[in-house]
Amino acid sequence: MLEFSLHNAWLIPLLPLLAFALIGLAMHRWPSVSAMISILSIGISMLLSALVAVLVFSLSPGEIYEASVRWLSMPGLQVNMGMLVDPLAAVMLVVVTGVAFLVQVYSLGYMKGDPGIASYFGYQSLFAASMLGLVLANNFGQIFVFWELVGVCSYFLIGFWFGKYSARDAAIKAFVTNRVGDFGFLLGILFLQIVFGTLNFQELSAAIPGYTNAAVLLPIAVLLFFGPVGKSAQFPLHVWLPDAMEGPTPVSALIHAATMVAAGVYLVARAFFIFNAIPQAMTLIAIVGGLTALFAASIAIAQNDIKRILAYSTLSQLGYMMMALGVGAMTAGVFHLMTHAFFKSLLFLGAGSVIIGMHEEQDIWKMGNIAPKMPVTTWTFIIGALALAGIPPLSGFWSKDEILLGAYASGHTGLYILGVLVAFLTAFYMFRLVFVAFFGKNTAGRDKAHESPAVMTIPLLVLAVAAVLAGLVNSPLMHHVFGHFINAPGAIQPHPNTAIIVFSTLAALSGILLAWLIYQREVIKAEVIKEKFSMAYKVLYNKYYIDEIYGWLGVRLVDGAARVLFWFDIHVINGFVNLTAWFTGKSGETLRYTEDGQVQTYAIYMFAGVVIVLITALCGVFTALA
């Protein structure tokens, strides 16, 4: 059974794909059947993934399973399709299928009564298939195809309620911003193919260490990094992710918190051997990640929309992961990816439960003291928040601690301090959210709040358990088993350091304490701070005006250029195109009337054709005839 699941791991993405095909082509008239097909397929994929993981983790570290088939071949180019199952992929398989399964179950409750349920589950299945395909890909070409597919699914799901202007705009924004990153990514892939003649990860990882021409490798690495910057919403391409919250909340949980946005981190981990060969590239990744972490965390403290706070938190945590990879702590980065997937999807699903319970209310100031009304949601949310804040012994503690340890041990003291600051801010904004929304003063909307149905709370409970326990796999309690398997040559594996553990925990606790003082006990008045630092608050509230800057640049530069190009397009290109089209259509029209229905005309054409070919051939055009 184990062997079977490993050798047939391709079934894992295929099942959701079949579900998508089935829903799209035949079942879309029956919403509940569609939902069941989708959940069933992802459930089976989840079981298969678990089997695969069990087997992979029972092999010795470094052992992998790779299988590929020739897809297309011609002289000088061989395109293969294949799958690569190693511990990294196995962990991702479990995380993606597990979270996707829970989110789909949760969606049964959340999307209840929506007219588009069938297509919602269709897209969910397509997304699961593409994401799993991305995880299993054994070469860059294949990963790019699935990379684009998850992007398309994200586009569909952000714009799922396409009746809303904001949802449509957000979907377009997400797609366009990602295109910027994907453009660089594709160029990087093309250069890899040109320089190394292969896109296979294993072959590349064998070839890269011996390749010393940094002048070639550095641009490739930077171009490749464009992809993760877009997909994982790193600064400066982060603008799409907060807006992506226009989609249904389960979608935000699955795609825009746990899995798809982590694809960028996964890619950097997958291609770690390329980046690690270039110190400058690693520094770039670490700095981009660190800046994103700090920048997004600071914005999060001034937001009022529950989903936006979580969105900026996601940005910040993705930055954290990137930073971990950039300083060389590959294990820590992937570890945090996994724990984050659990607690952040928990938080989003909890937020969704609150939104449903509060009848579509998303402003935390309009909630207040809903804890008694929604006990399960509240307590699971608090577990998620504690895990995110990094309070021991919850999962976030272990992974965050390892990142900080990695930053410190690799000598990036500046990034280490930044990381501690982010840990403090994270704890602060999360508990600001908790105290304001779940406790605090009663508000008008509170009375009609209600707990969500079991179909939504059970996934919350399951995820809460995962958020508590997932960190143990790389703790001293389990002898750092995670790190033994998920590692890369050249990645650092620092020894635990008690001082760092104490510092980061203190930072988190003081963040919680500060939030408690300001928003619960109101020892320090929030209004006072707001007024004192009104400039800073405004900047943070407006997200550093990045959107406005992009908007202005867009209007000035892009529109200006567009106007010139538009004129050119209308008067020159269009004219040419129309002329071609007119000519083409006209010649078709003319030639058509050679077919006059007279059989003898047809015979004339036929014999004339024979005679012409015969004469040219006999005159020696095609021969060496005298």
Binding site: G588, V610, A617
Partner: protein
């Protein structure tokens, strides 16, 4: 001699006669003809697949059993099966002549099988005529329909003339070689005017069957007039059979002739370019779905001919690959056209209005099949064209590949025009288009094959590679 080597042929002949005889049964008993023919064809297809890989040369080389022939036999049988399955309710128009229909279909298939296996010109000619005469009758099968009989007569007059041209070519070649065995021809061919003339006439005879410009004039009329399932069969199978025979004659006799300096590749390449251009251009302005598909099939034949003109591993592999995917895609489109024609009584493209609302699956499959014909990735047509054009480029015909690419883009216009009508225009009727289970089965096979062969072409491409190995 091992009799099982001729199993496919013997079984087909038996099935053809059986179908004819069961048609004479009284009353309702004769209705078993259809299911018997389908079961028989399926059985023969399985038999042929099971015997893939056998190699033999029978009767001193006049009948060849090899992978190349076996590949095409599978293709013909698949096409016959799909067409018969997909004909659905159209068969009601044949009234009490259904058994003759099945019998003629089987005999036409037998003719094609003989063409693919023919090792000498006499056998080739007999196979060709068995196929063609069956098609004359099938084309004019609706005797009370003026269009059908007119198409039959036109096809017969032009077909007989083209046979005469082909035969004249064979006789000129034979006058110099003194043999009718194709394999023995190569060694004795030399650059003589009469031989060159013979080869040109031979090529013209085949070009008529695969409707290469300017020998294509019969195609649109016959395709439009013939009963739609017959048109379907004519477009996929008879074309493939002519290609099978043509590939064998040109690769074994002409290409391998040491004493002949004739750049036959260039002649075919120019004809292919002409066919691609004119076929696609006229297709742009068609209003009848059968005529549209006729011109589209002319253009498609041009693409395949480009692969034969390349005459290298890629080109020939492309010919075989494309011929099979063309069976699936074109049959899928024709099956839907048949269903719509039965439903609306019209073959105008207008009849497809609002099909996406009435029968979304049919509209989706039609779009898949047409886009595959246009060569849009990731559908099968893209991979097929990729092989064909790669072969042409390797042979130095970059211009041919460019023409092919540009005209493929032009073709997207008229293919998508059908989709536009299906998806954007409003339907007059609301109820779904009716279809039997067999009809749906055939459709799904076509659609899935178009997708599967596009996403994962390696198995079929390996099979095609094995089939063309004897020419390289």
């Amino acid at each position: 001699m091992e009799i099982s080597l001729l199993g496919t042929e013997i079984l087909l002949a038996t099935l053809g006669f059986l179908a004819l005889v069961t048609g004479l049964l009284p009353g309702r008993a004769k209705s078993i003809t259809g299911s018997m023919s389908l079961a028989g064809l399926l059985l023969i297809l399985v038999y042929t697949i099971a015997h893939f890989g056998e190699e033999a040369s029978l009767f001193q080389g006049i009948y060849l059993v090899d992978n190349f022939a076996a590949y095409f036999k599978m293709l013909f049988l698949t096409a016959t099966l799909l067409v018969s399955l997909g004909a659905g309710r159209y068969l009601e128009r044949f009234e009490n002549k259904k058994s003759e229909f099945y019998s003629l279909m089987v005999f036409a298939t037998l003719g094609m099988v003989i063409m693919a296996s023919a090792g000498d010109f006499i056998t080739l000619y007999v196979g060709l005529e068995l196929m063609t005469v069956s098609f004359y009758i099938l084309t004019a099968f609706l005797l009370r329909d003026g269009l059908s009989t007119e198409a039959g007569l036109k096809y017969l007059v032009l077909g007989a003339a083209s046979s005469a041209i082909l035969l004249f070519g064979i006789s000129l070649v034979m006058a110099y070689t003194g043999t009718t065995v194709i394999g023995a021809t190569a060694a004795r061919l030399m650059t003589e005017p009469a031989v060159v003339a013979g080869i040109v006439l031979l090529a013209a005879g085949f070009a008529f069957k695969i409707s290469v410009i300017p020998f294509h004039m019969w195609t649109p009329d016959i395709y439009q007039g013939a009963p739609t399932p017959v048109t379907n069969y004519l477009s996929v199978a008879s074309k493939a059979a002519a290609f099978a025979a043509m590939v064998r004659v040109f690769m074994v006799a002409v290409d391998a002739a040491p004493g002949l300096t004739l750049s036959w590749n260039l002649i075919l390449a120019i004809l292919a370019a002409l066919t691609i251009i004119v076929g696609n251009l006229i297709a742009l302005v068609q209003e009848d779905i059968k005529r549209l598909l006729a011109y589209s099939s002319i253009a498609q034949a041009g693409y395949i001919l480009a692969g034969l003109a390349a005459a290298n591993a890629y080109g020939l592999k492309g010919v075989l690959f494309y011929a099979l995917l063309y069976v699936f895609c074109n049959t899928g489109a024709f099956i839907i056209a048949t269903a719509v024609e039965v439903d609306s009584g019209s073959t105008a493209i207008e009849a497809f209005r609002g099909l996406s609302k009435r029968s979304p699956a049919l509209a989706a499959i039609m779009t898949i099949c047409l886009l595959s014909l246009a060569g849009i990735p990731p559908l099968a047509g893209f991979v097929g064209k990729f092989y064909l054009f790669a072969g042409a480029i390797q042979q130095g015909y970059l211009w041919l590949a460019l023409i092919g690419l540009i005209m493929s883009m032009v073709s997207v216009y008229y293919y998508l025009n059908v989709s536009r009508v299906m998806y954007i225009e409003k339907a007059g009727k609301q109820e779904p288009v009716k279809g039997s289970g067999a009809f749906r089965l055939a459709l799904w096979v076509c659609a899935l094959a178009a997708i599967f062969l596009g996403c994962y072409p390696a198995p079929l491409s390996n099979l095609a590679q094995q089939a063309i190995q004897l020419f390289l």
